[in-house]
Amino acid sequence: MSHETELLSRKQEIAPTEKKNPEKKDDMDIETTEELNLLAVERIKSAEQEAEAFSGESEARMGQVKDLIGLPEEKVDEIGASLDVKNNLGKINEKASQLLSEMRSKIKSVTAIGMATLALGGAGNFERGMVAGLVKSETSITDTKLDANLKPADLEQKEVFNEENAELRKEIIAKVEKIRQNMISHMESKDYRDRLRVEIGRVLNYDKNSPDYDKKIDKFSQAIFSMRLERLKKVRIVLLPADEIGTHENNNEKNGNVLAFYSGKGEIYLPLEKPNEDVIFHELSHTVASDEDDLLKESYITQNSNQDSYLGSSSERRAFKSALDQELENLGIKKYGEKFTQEHFNKMIECDEQGKFSPGARVFIRTTKPELFEKIFNEVADNEVDKKSKIV
């Protein structure tokens, strides 16, 4: 199977959106459905922080109790057992988990009503997708108990982690980490933040003459930015033997040709083999891509094949575009913050004919309506990183 075919065969999953500062909304009037859903996301986030702090305090205090009193550990344990401390603390922690779960459900039920009404009101697909994504991605993050630190998952496939492949695992994770850090640096750049504002303005289709236009755009772009960043930072890597990737239970498409995939639940599944930086970059890109973008979908040239649903999805197109974006810069055709012009387009086509692009970038060039390149490149914030530094 060619690299390109492999790339096309990979599974995609709806990605992200974001998170934000939980305390700002109460100071503001909630006037729109989007604001309502953002408020919901913020409150859930706040509750999760509270639950996390609660759990941490319990452990810390138990540690203090043992350390301060200066009794032998077995004596402490004996007294603890007589008071049933462990069991009672467990029950309290269970109650805390249940409270969080109930709180999430209640809030989701309130916002679900809001989303249904929004859909009936004829709002744009992206807006609906984004609003839904704000809630959905938030819950998926918390439900999967993500590790903040990138490390090989050892939960499901312990048998694959042995001394023989220790070096290989280390190499894959080092490469993932390097690419991820470069993506984070790029997202924190002014160019990316500026482009994101433009993108948000376009997809929300707010009236630019509205007096609160800037306020709304700032609010949404900050929210989207924070959630994307957090998702990228928290995504966990699961390494599996290559022949188990396609049929893994978390791979919805159950396609044996799948090389790697993003589960949409905070995990990227990669093959336990020599790392391929294009594949890693592509999957990481899914964590910072919006689930719906009309422009990316409309610009897709239908291939009249069973690959259309995959290739035409916003999530995949954004990931392919990210590859193209960085390669345009590496080939000296166009810098990220630079406005895309007809001249750039011509050079890009010339380089494509010379076979200078990666399979993913080629896919994007060949499946995108030429008349929409300029709009896409100037209005979609992307996840470009310096390819030279991306390759470890």
């Binding site: 109460d26 009037d29 909630i30 006037e31 729109t32 459905t33 604001e35 309502l36 408020l39 919901a40 409150r43 706040s46 509750a47 509270e50 639950a51 609660f54 305090e57 319990s58 205090r61 138990m62 109790v65 301060l68 009193i69 200066g70 009794l71 004596k75 402490v76 007294i79 603890g80 007589s82 008071l83 401390v85 009672n88 603390l89 309290i92 109650k95 805390a96 409270l99 969080l100 709180m103 209640k106 809030i107 309130v110 916002t111 009503i113 809001g114 009404t117 929004l118 009101g121």
Partner: protein, 56 residues
């Protein structure tokens, strides 16, 4: 959805969050009480141990 519906739902969201935080505060007290009792019991044992050493 009308403006008033949105505002009402926003208030519902805030209330759900508020109630959650209140319940968590109660749990904190419960947790704290449990650990205080534990600590107190340990201190008693420690005191007895010290007293026994002094007497001895």
């Amino acid at each position: 959805m009308s403006d008033s519906d949105i505002k009402q739902k926003a208030e519902e969201v805030r209330m759900i969050h508020r109630e959650y935080m209140e319940k968590m505060a109660e749990l904190r007290k419960e947790q704290s009480q449990l650990l205080d009792d534990f600590m107190s019991k340990l201190e008693d044992v420690k005191k007895k141990e010290i007293m026994n050493k002094i007497r001895a």
